[in-house]
């Protein structure tokens, strides 16, 4: 890995000195023609890219009233300027949300406002030149679409929507991003982001069953493609592959086992993530979501439950019914869809799970609210359930829990730095920058309260932190899955080893 300047996290969160253009060089690898074409986009930059881009822009403005309002309504109040983790980490003023929006807004003014068409120099309107397009490609891939800035904008301007629209326009003129587009191709071809075929998935699940049996003495199943199961679990494919994700998957399996419910994973819909949201493509979002509906119908399940994945829960909670509904064939007594944390918390509240908190006594936990869960969804019946329920589960499983600074959690949470299609090695510098406010807040509770581990409920957050935390001086395994804590604490009926044997 190249050496990058790592922001200092010793001082409290502060506004950095401006470093104009310091991140202008950052750009993701371009999608190869085959990645583009697999999604129906041009393979490379088309000759008439300028006109095509403006046409697409017009089409999006016609479709999305929100985009039109966001283009028109900024009053340059400055409330957003110090709210973006990529600005705080880099000092590059083009990473201020208002400046990021203005990259698109100046082109909007030039082509879609009366003044911008006649007297562009008076109203800060600009043509979409090659230079501006390069800026779009660079800075709209330094936005993780986390929506933190929109919380502080008095008009509620959502930079995520603008960044999605910009990426959608760029895809349509042949300027796509390799990471997202290659992965979407794998979902269409194989069923998940990893490209994990059914045979490998089956082998991985069997392997995990062996591990759980070794630990507990019980045959805890991770069923695959079981027709007639009650519950379809849709979880990020990283849960089958990476650490600490897989420990969370083991936790879900133990919860299902103890609850005595029948459940299954589908190889056809072996992915909760929907990267189409990151590239702003409604058509692609529908295609990916349709796989989940098809799997649910083919397997004849009654419920759909989502595993720990941040943006997947946004797509599921906010859009699934529009994208792939109506889900009138599912059991109406349960939320459609449901989050694994809702299921687990419900069981804990009913007293259906025996939890030995001391199993997690070697840790002092804090919780990183994942941006999409925090600002775009809910869990449970009460407002704020998406903040309370994961914390309640952690506290039911652990004796030691401390929250980070109030300005950095719940609806004000920072992005992990790798969301929105940025979790790729070619954007490592941006990822390091974006993680810095979270790392600062974490360091405070580590220093002041002896926090040893941070829990999360998002595959991207977990992978980002496992990679980035060592760069900031933390241990790689100090990021954990919430259901990993459940897995450690839960005592299954008839369990012969693990915590029970230690207690004997």
């Amino acid at each position: 890995m190249a050496d990058y300047k790592v922001p200092c996290i010793d001082k409290p969160l502060d506004i950095p000195a401006l470093a104009r253009g310091s991140m202008a060089h950052s750009a993701p690898f371009p999608a190869a023609p085959e990645h583009q074409q697999a999604l129906g986009f041009p393979g490379e930059l088309v000759d008439d890219w300028h006109d095509k881009a403006i046409d697409k822009f017009a089409e999006l403005l016609g479709k999305s009233r929100a985009l039109q309002v966001y283009m028109d309504s900024c009053v340059k109040c400055g409330a957003c300027t110090d709210k973006c983790q990529y600005f705080l980490g880099s000092g590059d003023p083009k990473n201020m949300p208002v400046a990021r929006q203005d990259l698109m807004r100046k082109v909007y003014r030039r082509h879609f406002t009366w003044a911008g068409k006649i007297v562009p120099w008076l109203v800060d309107a600009e043509d979409l030149t090659e230079e501006v397009l390069d800026d779009w490609y660079s800075y709209f891939h330094q936005c993780s679409q986390c929506r933190r800035c929109s919380v502080f904008c008095p008009y509620g301007i959502d930079t995520a929507e603008i960044s999605m629209a910009a990426r959608e326009i760029m895809d349509h003129i042949g300027k796509g991003q390799k990471y997202c587009n290659e992965i979407l191709g794998k979902v269409h071809k194989i069923g998940n982001n990893l490209g994990l075929p059914e045979k490998a998935l089956a082998n991985t699940l069997e392997d995990l069953e062996e591990d759980i049996e070794e630990e507990t003495g019980l045959e805890v199943k991770l069923p695959l493609n079981v027709k007639g199961a009650d519950i379809l679990l849709v979880t990020p494919s990283a849960d089958f592959f990476a650490e600490p994700h897989v420990d969370g998957l083991i936790g879900y399996a133990k919860v299902f086992h103890q609850a005595g419910v029948s459940w299954t994973i589908s190889s056809y819909a072996s992915e909760a993530a929907n990267f189409a949201m990151f590239i702003g493509s409604y058509e692609q979002m529908k295609l990916v979501a349709a796989r989940i509906r098809k799997a649910a119908e083919d397997l004849g399940v009654k419920r759909i439950i989502f595993g720990e994945c941040g943006h997947a829960w946004r797509v599921a909670y906010a859009f699934l019914n529009t994208l792939a509904g109506p889900f009138d064939f599912l059991d109406p007594d349960y939320p459609v869809p449901q989050h694994i944390c809702e299921l687990t918390w419900d069981l804990i509240e009913k007293g259906a799970l025996t939890l030995d908190k001391s199993a997690n006594d070697h840790m002092t936990l804090t919780f990183h609210d994942s941006c999409n869960v925090a600002r775009a969804t809910r869990m449970g019946e009460e407002p704020g359930g998406q903040f309370e329920i994961p914390r309640a589960i952690i506290k039911a499983c652990c004796n030691n829990f401390v929250d980070m600074d109030a300005d950095t959690i719940r609806e004000s949470t920072f992005c992990c730095g790798g969301g929105g299609g940025l979790l790729t090695d070619d954007l490592m510098e941006t990822r390091i920058n974006g993680a810095s406010p979270r790392m600062q807040a974490l360091k405070e509770v580590v220093d002041d309260h002896g926090v040893t581990h941070m829990a999360a409920i998002c595959a991207i957050c977990k992978s980002q932190f496992a990679k980035i935390m060592p760069i900031y001086g933390f241990e790689m395994d100090s990021i954990v899955s919430v259901h990993q804590l459940v897995s450690n604490a839960i005592i299954l009926d008839g369990q012969t080893s693990g915590q029970t044997s230690e207690a004997e």
Binding site: M1, F29, Y179, E182, I183, K186, N192, N193, L194, G195, L196, P197, K199, A200, N203, T204, D207, L208, D211, P236, S237, A238, F240, F241, A242, E243, V246, A273, C309, L423, D425, D426, A459, I460, K462, S463, K467, M476, D477
Partner: protein, 110 residues
């Protein structure tokens, strides 16, 4: 980018993963490892060979957990942990070892 190996030019992507996995050979693995600043020892080869065998059967690299267990079986419990694998391949056993083994880069939220 590309590797020059025994007089042949082997094409690779921007990050050095070879494009045609059938062109892999042990000399090329040595070259890729050199570019990654890794000196290949017996344990490195054990991992690389396991990855290639697994890929042959499953068309994907194994999960870190599966790899760890395999290393534990072949090299002993003191080496069967992800810490040791990261010592062998500092940029991550999944990605860096795959590159040396000539396999495609695992993608996704990992």
């Amino acid at each position: 980018m590309a590797y020059e190996c025994n007089g042949a030019t082997i094409e690779a992507d921007e990050e050095g993963y070879i494009l045609d996995i059938s062109l892999w050979n042990t000399d090329l693995a040595g070259l890729i490892a050199e570019a990654e600043n890794i000196e290949m020892g017996d344990d490195h080869w054990e991992v690389v060979n396991f990855l290639r065998n697994y890929y042959d059967e499953y068309q994907i690299a194994p999960a870190v957990r599966v790899l760890t267990k395999a290393v534990k079986r072949s090299l002993g419990p003191e080496k069967g942990n992800s810490k040791y694998l990261y010592e062998l391949f500092p940029y991550g056993p999944a990605k860096q070892a795959c590159k040396i083994a000539g396999l495609p880069k695992p993608t996704g939220c990992i």
